[in-house]
């Protein structure tokens, strides 16, 4: 059986995680789409921590008879791996987008330089033209 103390401690920890995630969302420091996985993680851990019978049953399925809270660690680790993997995909996408943006900026900047030079040349030619056309004496 899961010791009550561990159950309470794990529930408090899960609640704390959920609370922090909600606070971060409220403060707009965490976007909902990235917070979703954390909320699911917190909720699953909270349920497994508080519902001792459930944890024991799952431990039974897994053949863990001596120490059911081990399942808590296992589930927590699994979710952390999922979150990390998801963040790796986010990071990869951001890196790709960053490259595209840098290239875009560089190409636009080059075009801008060209346009500026063109304007400068036209202005110069225009002045010269006006001088040439200018009324004599």
């Amino acid at each position: 059986m899961t010791p009550v103390k561990i159950s309470i401690a794990a529930s408090v920890a899960s609640l704390l995680l959920l609370l922090i995630v909600f606070e971060l969302i409220r403060g707009r420091r965490l976007k909902e789409r990235y917070a979703l996985l954390w909320i699911v993680t917190g909720l699953v851990l909270l349920v497994l921590s508080a519902w001792r019978g459930g944890l024991n049953t799952i431990a039974g399925w897994m053949g863990v008879s001596t120490y059911p809270p081990a399942i808590l660690f296992a589930v927590a680790t699994l979710f952390v791996i999922i979150v990390l993997l998801y963040y790796s995909t986010v990071l990869s996408r951001l890196a790709d987008q960053n490259t595209v943006l840098a290239q875009r900026v560089a190409l636009l900047e080059q075009r801008l330089t060209e346009v500026d030079d063109g304007v400068g040349e036209r202005a110069l030619l225009g002045e010269a033209g006006a001088e040439l056309r200018g009324e004599p004496g």
Binding site: T99, A102, Q103, V105, A106, L107, E109, Q110, E114
Partner: protein
């Protein structure tokens, strides 16, 4: 195919010692060639020197690595409607005198992408250090196997491309040692790749900084990337062509 407008793409990272000469040589060879230098986050005078020598200069806001820099050049070529592009490295190891050889299969319409190979002749004129030679042989064998085509120099960045090649690379180009992976990309998109033998020069400035340990690391990394490239999902080429 009649020769259209040609652009020479020159990626450069801190090459102020060589870049001016490279630009001059290309322009001296054929004044009708436009030259664009991609300055990959240099901290020296590469950009202003290239500009002073008459090249268009695209300055990346930070260092993207060789793949990202070269791809910027292909995007430039695509945007500006160039029919043919050649790519030479900014360190001067690619001799512009070989450009005619490189361009021939493009102009005759028998290839979409032409790579200048240091080993196609096998006359022993080019002898890289051992670590690198192992890597080069390994990738040549592996890529030849994967693409069912004899490729002798997979790391050569000395290339000529027609419009289809430019469009492919502008859209999708790998980053680390991009030439190896790009060969697989070309095969997957069913573009025609031809190798021509060229001579390359020794680096004009500085030694290549690749040590033995790093070569092994890169070999592993690029080998992995190759298999990923083979396994990746690609858009059907015909569909892509229709979009363009």
């Amino acid at each position: 195919m009649r020769p259209g407008r040609v652009i020479a793409i020159v990626p450069a990272h801190n090459e102020e010692g060589a870049i001016g000469g490279v630009v001059d040589e290309i322009r001296a060879l054929d004044p009708s060639f436009d030259v664009v230098v991609i300055d990959d986050g240099s901290s020296d005078g590469t950009a202003s020197l290239a500009s002073a020598h008459g090249a268009a200069v695209v300055i990346l806001p930070f260092n993207l690595g060789i793949g990202g820099a070269v791809q910027t050049g292909f995007k430039y070529a695509l945007e500006r409607g160039y029919e043919v592009a050649v790519r030479l490295d900014g360190d001067g190891q690619h001799d512009p005198a070989e450009l005619a050889t490189l361009l021939a299969p493009i102009l005759s319409g028998e290839a979409d992408i032409v790579t200048g190979s240091r080993f196609a002749l096998d006359d022993g004129a080019y002898r890289p250090p051992l670590g690198r030679r192992i890597g080069i042989t390994w990738f040549a064998r592996l890529v030849s196997l994967l693409t069912h085509q004899r490729v002798t120099d997979t790391t050569s960045g000395f290339q000529a491309l027609n419009r289809r090649g430019i469009a492919l690379f502008a859209d999708d180009y790998p980053n680390d040692y991009p030439e190896v992976e790009a060969t697989v990309l070309v095969f997957k998109h069913r573009l025609r790749l031809v190798e021509v033998p060229v001579r390359m020069r020794e680096r004009e400035h500085g030694e290549s900084s690749i040590t033995f340990v790093r070569s092994v690391y890169y070999m592993l990394k690029v080998t992995l990337a190759l298999f990923v490239a083979m396994a990746r999902r690609y858009a059907v080429p015909e569909e892509e062509a229709a979009h363009r």
